[in-house]
C-alpha cells in the first residue's frame, strides 16, 4: 500500500514538512530527510525548485532561487534520492511546478519517482481537468498519489470534484495567499475549517500555508487531519543550516 495512505490511517495528527531541495546547500537533501524522519515528522514534501514560483511568498522564492544557484535540477535531485529508501521509510512527496516535470517528460518523471520510492506529487499548476485527461493513468501506473489544492474560495461543487479525483489527502490552503507565515488564524479560517469539515469528504485534509508554530499547527489540526509547515522550516534552515532539525520539530509538537 502507498506509504501516504498507510500513514493517513494512523490515529494521529499528521505533521508534514516542506523544504526546497538543494537548500541551504546543494547536498543537504538526504540529511534533511533523514533528520526529519528521526524527529518524528509524518510526511515530507521535497520542493523541486523553479525559476518562477508564482504561488510562493518571499521565503520559498528565495530558497528556490538559492537552490537553483547552487546547481539543483530535476536529474540531480533524482540522483541524490536514488538510495533514499535504504535509510528512510517516511512517505515522500515531490512538490513543484509543472514545467520542469513537463520538460523531464511526465512519463519518465513518474517512472523515476516509482524507482526511487516517491509516494506522491503536488503540482499546483497542473489543473484538475488536464490531469484527468492526460496524466492520471501515468500517475496511477507508477503508484503516485496526486494531491490537489483547495482554498477558501473554492466552491463546494469544485471541492467535491477534487475530492472525487483525489486519493490520499486534499491539500487545504488556509487562506487566500501565497506561502508564508501569517499572524495566526482568525474567524475567517475557523469558518472555512468548519465548512470543509462539515462536508464530510472522502479524503482527509491537510492544511498548508501560514502554519509556523505549535499554536497555528494546533489551530489548523483541530478539524483537519494534519498540517504542513514550509516557510517557517526554511527560515530555520537559513539560520541554523541542517543542525537542530529535531529542535525545530519539537517546538511544533
Amino acid at each position: 500500500m502507498n506509504r501516504i495512505k498507510q500513514k493517513l490511517q494512523e490515529d494521529k495528527k499528521i505533521l508534514s514538512i516542506y523544504f526546497s531541495a538543494g537548500y541551504p546547500n546543494l547536498d543537504d537533501t538526504v540529511k534533511i530527510i533523514q533528520d526529519l524522519e528521526k524527529s518524528g515528522v509524518d510526511l515530507i514534501e521535497i520542493g523541486l525548485p523553479f525559476s518562477d514560483p508564482l504561488a510562493d511568498g518571499p521565503t520559498i522564492q528565495e530558497s528556490s532561487t538559492a537552490a537553483l544557484k547552487n546547481g539543483m535540477n530535476t536529474s540531480l535531485l533524482f540522483e541524490q534520492l536514488k538510495d533514499i529508501r535504504k535509510t528512510v521509510s517516511i512517505p515522500l512527496i515531490l512538490m513543484g511546478y509543472f514545467n520542469p516535470v513537463l520538460q523531464y517528460g511526465v512519463a519518465e518523471f513518474c517512472a523515476r519517482c516509482e524507482e526511487i520510492g516517491i509516494d506522491g506529487l503536488i503540482l499546483p499548476d497542473l489543473p484538475l481537468d488536464v490531469y484527468k485527461e492526460e496524466y492520471e493513468d501515468i500517475f496511477k501506473k507508477h503508484g503516485l498519489i496526486n494531491v490537489f489544492l483547495i482554498t477558501p474560495q473554492t466552491s463546494d461543487e469544485r471541492i467535491k470534484a477534487i475530492d472525487d479525483a483525489s486519493e490520499g489527502f486534499i491539500y487545504m490552503v488556509s487562506s487566500a495567499s501565497t506561502t508564508g507565515a501569517k499572524q495566526g488564524f482568525g474567524s475567517e479560517q475557523s469558518d472555512y475549517f468548519n465548512r470543509i469539515a462539515s462536508m464530510e469528504l472522502n479524503n482527509p485534509q491537510i492544511v498548508g500555508f501560514g502554519i509556523s508554530n505549535a499554536e497555528t499547527f494546533e489551530q489548523a489540526t483541530q478539524k483537519a487531519k494534519g498540517a504542513i509547515i514550509g516557510s517557517a522550516f526554511i527560515k530555520h534552515l537559513t539560520v541554523n543550516g541542517v543542525d537542530g532539525i529535531g529542535d525545530f520539530v519539537k517546538q511544533i509538537r
Binding site: 504561488a55 520538460q103 499548476d125 482554498t151 501565497t178
Partner: protein, 394 residues
C-alpha cells in the same frame, strides 16, 4: 474549417489553456464564465466604442507610406496605433478590461509592466474611472524607465517594484499574479498582452481586434478590397500582432508575418526570438513556446526593446508558428534601430523600437510591387528617445 482562434477551452491547437494553481481558479473562472457575455452586452459595446472614439482617438488612420513604398518597391500601409492616446495600442485593451472589471464589480486594479507602456495605459484608464491602481514593475525596469514611472505616479497609480528573480517583466508578472492570489475577491488583474491563462489571451485579442476591423474597412476604401496580401507586426507577448491579425486569421490569402526580437543575434545568447529558441512549456499559466533551460527553468531574454523582452509568446502566436500559418522573422537590435531611423527620415514618424523591428523586415524580405503590405505601427518612439539618443549618439 480549421480555425486559428481560441476554442472554448482557450486552446489554440495544443497551446493555451489555464495552468494555474487552485488559488487563481475562482478569479479566472469568474472571468471565463462572464467575459464573452459581458462583451456582447449592448451597454458594454456602446461604452467601449464611445471611449475608443472620443478618448483614445479611434479609428486610427491607415496611412499609405509613399516614400517607404517607393524605396522597397511594394505598397506599404501603416496602421497608426502610435496615434492612440498614451502612444500605443495598449490602451485598446486597458479600456476594455477596466469596463470588464466594473461589470464584475471589482474596485481595485493590478497590472504588470515591462517598459511601462501597459502600466501607463492601465494607470490612465484607472484615473479615468476613479479606480485604485497598483502596477508591478521590475526593479531594474523602474531604474531604466523613469519617465513612465513618473507618468504612472502622476496618473495616481502606485508603482510597486518587483524585487524577485531577474527583476524585470516576467518577475513583475509573477508579483502581479501573487497579488491576485492574495486579493481574490475585489481585484481585477489587467494583463497587458495575449498571454496568461485562459481567458486572457482570447479576451485581450478580442479587445485589440478593433485594429484589424478598422484595417478591413479602411483598406476597402483605399484599395477596393478588405484583405491585404500581408499583415506585419512585431511580437513580444503579441498583443498588437493579435489585434492586427485577428480578422485575417482564418483568411488564408492574407499572409501573416510575425517579427520577433533577435537581440544581438538569435544564437548570441542575448535574444528574445521565442519561436526560434523556445520549446513548449508553461509560463504564467499558459502552455506555449518559451525560452527555458533543459531543466525547465525559464530564462531571461534580451532585446534592446523592453516591449519585446519577454521569454514567452502568446499561445495564438505559438500556434501560428507551429502550424506554419504565420511566417516568423527575427530582427536584431541593430537592424531595428536602423529601420526606426529610416522611418523618421522617409515618413516623418518616430516609431517605438518594438515597431522598428517590424519595419526592418523590408531590407531582406521582398514583396511584389503590387502587394499590399500592412504594418501595424504599434507605438510611437517618444518613450525610446533616450535609447535612440544613446544608440545613434544624437
Amino acid at each position: 474549417m480549421k480555425s486559428y482562434h481560441a476554442d472554448e477551452r482557450g486552446y489554440y491547437g495544443e497551446f493555451g489553456g489555464a495552468f494555474i494553481p487552485e488559488m487563481l481558479y475562482p478569479n479566472c473562472e469568474e472571468l471565463r464564465q462572464n467575459y464573452l457575455s459581458i462583451m456582447e452586452e449592448p451597454s458594454f459595446k456602446e461604452e467601449f466604442h464611445q471611449l475608443l472614439k472620443d478618448y483614445v482617438g479611434r479609428p486610427t488612420p491607415l496611412y499609405f507610406a509613399k516614400r517607404l513604398s517607393e524605396k522597397y518597391n511594394t505598397k506599404i500601409y501603416l496602421k497608426r496605433e502610435d496615434l492612440c492616446h498614451t502612444g500605443a495600442h495598449k490602451v485598446n485593451n486597458t479600456i476594455g478590461q477596466i469596463l470588464m472589471a466594473k461589470k464584475l464589480g471589482k474596485n481595485r486594479i493590478i497590472a504588470e509592466t515591462g517598459a511601462g507602456q501597459h502600466g501607463v495605459a492601465t494607470a490612465t484608464v484607472c484615473a479615468l474611472m476613479g479606480i485604485q491602481c497598483v502596477v508591478y514593475m521590475g526593479e531594474i525596469d523602474i531604474a531604466r524607465q523613469a519617465p513612465n514611472v513618473a507618468r504612472m505616479k502622476m496618473l495616481g497609480a502606485e508603482v510597486r517594484p518587483a524585487t524577485s528573480g531577474s527583476k524585470t517583466l516576467k518577475d513583475a508578472t509573477n508579483e502581479a499574479i501573487r497579488d491576485w492570489i492574495n486579493n481574490p475577491v475585489d481585484t481585477h488583474y489587467i494583463i497587458g498582452s495575449v498571454v496568461g491563462p485562459h481567458p486572457y489571451p482570447d479576451m485581450v485579442a478580442r479587445f485589440q481586434s478593433v485594429i484589424s476591423e478598422e484595417i478591413k474597412n479602411q483598406l476597402q476604401e483605399k484599395e477596393g478590397r478588405e484583405n491585404p496580401d500581408y499583415v506585419v507586426a512585431c511580437v513580444g507577448g503579441g498583443s498588437n500582432a493579435a489585434g492586427a491579425y485577428y480578422h485575417y486569421l482564418d483568411v488564408p490569402e492574407v499572409g501573416i508575418i510575425a517579427v520577433e526580437a533577435a537581440g544581438k543575434g538569435v544564437d548570441s545568447g542575448e535574444s528574445a526570438a521565442t519561436s526560434a529558441l523556445g520549446k513548449v512549456g508553461i509560463i504564467h499559466g499558459s502552455k506555449t513556446l518559451l525560452m527555458q533551460t533543459q531543466d525547465g527553468q525559464i530564462t531571461e531574454p534580451y532585446s534592446i526593446s523592453a516591449g519585446l523582452d519577454y521569454p514567452g509568446v502568446g499561445p495564438m502566436h505559438a500556434h501560428l508558428y507551429a502550424s506554419g500559418r504565420g511566417e516568423f522573422i527575427s530582427i536584431t537590435d541593430d537592424d531595428a534601430m536602423k529601420a526606426g531611423l529610416e522611418l523618421c527620415k522617409l515618413e516623418g514618424i518616430i516609431p517605438a523600437i518594438e515597431t522598428s523591428h517590424a519595419l526592418a523586415i523590408f531590407e531582406d524580405r521582398k514583396f511584389n510591387p503590387d502587394d499590399v503590405v500592412v504594418v501595424n505601427l504599434s507605438g510611437r518612439g517618444d518613450k525610446d528617445l533616450q535609447n535612440y539618443i544613446d544608440y545613434f549618439k544624437l
